[in-house]
């Protein structure tokens, strides 16, 4: 076989492989949107349960994301700057929820925060129930999606040369002020990207939520509920709306990524 012919076969093989891969990812989503997208959008006006589910999904995902940004950013900073004793153990703990099957995550949360657990009982006394409440949904979303935020935030912060902080400190900043005035702004776009990814992951969560809080229903649970109770046609509009909702963070991410490469240039 000539070298030219071998090269042509290699090019064709790569192109076919890439095309098949892309089709595997795009076709199911495309079919879903085509079959249920329009009816889903039409149904939004008259289906109060769907509207409630979407609103609940968005608010709980937003709540989980905000709490993670607030508590996870300091943790990501400490991990990025190697200031956590036993940092590799802490990193493994952060990443562990990504590896656990999500229904198992739901069971773990049920055991830790259910009414029978000490933490659940204490929260109950404060009037906060985790099982069967929006708080439980947000907790499940946080548990499965926060590792994505913390890992991405840690990498964003680690990319900021720590000498920027050192310079800021020679100019009088405390470590906290140097992080606030220099590191976090420089890592800002990366942090926003991490938050968007986490939000998107939280919106799509099903396994952990369905164990912890079947009702009130988020969109993913509603889609599953309608599929099991009424069949595919009833589930389609809800599923299609969820896919369309996922386009929002996708667009945000693409616009953010173009800015990140600019900020990564050394000065």
């Amino acid at each position: 076989m000539s070298a030219r012919r071998a090269h042509r076969i290699a090019v064709v093989s790569v192109a076919v492989g890439a095309g098949v891969m892309l089709a595997l990812l795009a076709v199911p989503v495309g079919v879903l949107v085509m079959r249920g997208g329009l009816s889903g959008l039409r149904q939004l006006g008259g289906d109060a349960e769907l509207r409630r589910a979407l609103l609940l999904t968005a608010t709980t995902a937003t709540g989980a994301t905000l709490v993670t940004v607030l508590l996870g950013t300091p943790l990501a900073y400490l991990l990025a700057r190697d200031r956590v004793p036993g940092g590799s153990v802490a990193t493994a703990l952060v990443e562990l929820p990504l590896l656990i099957p999500h229904p198992v995550a739901g069971i773990a949360l049920l055991l830790a925060f259910g009414r029978a657990s000490p933490a659940g009982a204490a929260l109950q006394r404060l009037g906060l129930s985790i099982v069967g409440s929006p708080a439980g949904i947000a907790l499940a979303m946080l548990f499965v999606a926060a590792p994505l935020y913390i890992s991405a935030a840690r990498e964003s912060i680690a990319r900021v040369d720590r000498r920027y902080e050192d310079v800021a400190r020679t100019l009088g900043d405390s470590p906290f002020m140097a992080a606030r005035r220099v590191t976090l702004p420089l890592a800002g776009r990366g942090l926003v990207t991490a938050a968007v990814v986490m939000w998107a992951r939280a919106v799509s969560e099903f396994g952990a939520i369905v164990i912890l809080t079947y009702n009130p229903k988020v969109a993913s649970v509603l889609s599953y509920d309608r599929f099991t109770a009424f069949g595919l046609d009833s589930a389609l509009p809800v599923a299609a709306i969820l896919v369309l909702l996922a386009l929002v963070p996708l667009v945000v991410l693409r616009s953010l990524r173009s800015g990140i490469s600019r900020l990564d240039q050394p000065s």
């Binding site: 000498r163 920027y164 050192d166 310079v167 800021a168 020679t170 100019l171 900020l263 000065s267």
Partner: protein, 349 residues
């Protein structure tokens, strides 16, 4: 004043060890050394950026060994500037300043007025270094640590900024410790100098002493000495009772007579190229004690100077003479010449 006593620090696998030195208040200290010698690590350790593993640092007479960076009140300029890319040039300069008026006069004084409206990303390497310098000067520190701060400036800008900074330092009697590879910079600015080698202090003193009387082969070569030989020194018996002995150096196929207080033993002989005179015939009136018979290998003309490589046996010597002298002596390749070196020009270390 900067006082270092038995200072040690780590940067990854690299170790800075046993550094003891004093930069008097208001003096300009120079740190010399090859790449990887530990110069930046030394500055970072003084600034508190790197933790001290042994020894102590005293600034202004106070022990700051355990003090946080921000409480040491030193200005620090990195070679790579590290301007904050999310801030404007003006915001960078004013980052640590306490007085806007002082910042403005600093900008005018150093001729950076046209840069303040620019974005950091649009600055050239030299402009970034200037802004980084002004940012460090803006809080008016009385101790300044400079890591090759003029390396990216063009030659004219370097001379201008260097002299302006020298004036600024004298006005405030600020103490400066300055890492540089530029020997002219070291000679013109430095009151004291230290040479680092593999994380250790190999020599300290005035810049002139380091250049003229290097303590190590590395320092000699760093200072641009072309003729450095390794060998052995023996002391000749003194017939005059003088403490200054005649020393005989033998090594790398050459024998040289020198003077000094070398105790004898393994040594390096250093002869600067400009201290070697070339002659066609022996002079009866000459007082030089080293007259070496050699053959010209190469004559490289460099402006008004000629760099002449002479083989003395198997040893190569480099001499620098004026082009006029080379022409007058008719120095050409393969010609026999005498390399004449005074004993006082042979430095033994």
């Amino acid at each position: 004043m900067i006082e270092l006593s038995g200072l040690a620090s780590r940067a990854g696998a690299f170790e800075l060890r046993d550094i003891s030195a004093t930069i008097p208040a208001g003096a300009w200290g120079i740190v010399l050394g090859a790449a990887g010698a530990g110069k930046t690590t030394l500055l970072e350790t003084i600034a508190g950026v790197r933790p001290i593993t042994a020894g102590s640092v005293r600034l202004r007479g106070l022990d700051v060994t355990r003090l946080e960076i921000e409480h040491r009140r030193v200005g620090f300029v990195y070679q790579h500037s590290y301007l904050f890319p999310h801030l404007t040039v003006a915001e960078n300069i004013g980052y640590g300043a306490h007085d806007d008026g002082a910042v403005q006069s600093l900008i005018e004084r150093f001729g950076a007025g046209t840069l303040t409206s620019r974005s950091v990303s649009s600055l050239s390497g030299g402009e970034r270094q200037l802004i980084a310098l002004l940012r460090a000067l803006a809080p008016s520190p009385d101790i300044l640590l400079l890591d090759e701060p003029f390396a990216a400036l063009d030659p004219r800008g370097r001379v201008r900024i260097r002299s302006e900074l020298r004036r600024w330092q004298r006005e405030r009697t600020a103490t400066v410790l300055h890492v540089t590879h530029d020997l002219i910079e070291a000679a013109t600015l430095g009151d004291v100098a230290m040479m680092l080698s593999a994380g250790r202090l190999s020599q300290s003193g005035t810049p002139e002493a380091l250049f003229r009387r290097p303590a190590t082969r590395e320092m000699a070569e760093f200072a641009g000495a072309e003729n450095v030989f390794s060998g052995h020194v023996t002391r000749a018996e003194s017939t005059t009772g003088s403490e200054v002995s005649t020393l005989i150096f033998r090594g790398e196929g050459i024998e040289l007579l020198g003077v000094g207080d070398h105790p004898g033993g393994a040594a390096h002989a250093v002869v600067r190229a400009e201290d070697i005179a070339l002659a066609g015939t022996p002079s009866s009136s000459g007082s030089a004690r080293n007259v070496l018979d050699g053959r010209v290998i190469e004559v490289a003309r460099d402006g008004v100077l000629a760099r002449v490589t002479v083989a003395v046996g198997v040893t190569m010597l480099t001499a620098v003479v004026t082009r006029d002298a080379a022409t007058e002596l008719g120095i050409v390749a393969d010609q026999r010449v005498l390399a004449v070196i005074k004993a006082t020009a042979v430095h033994l270390c």
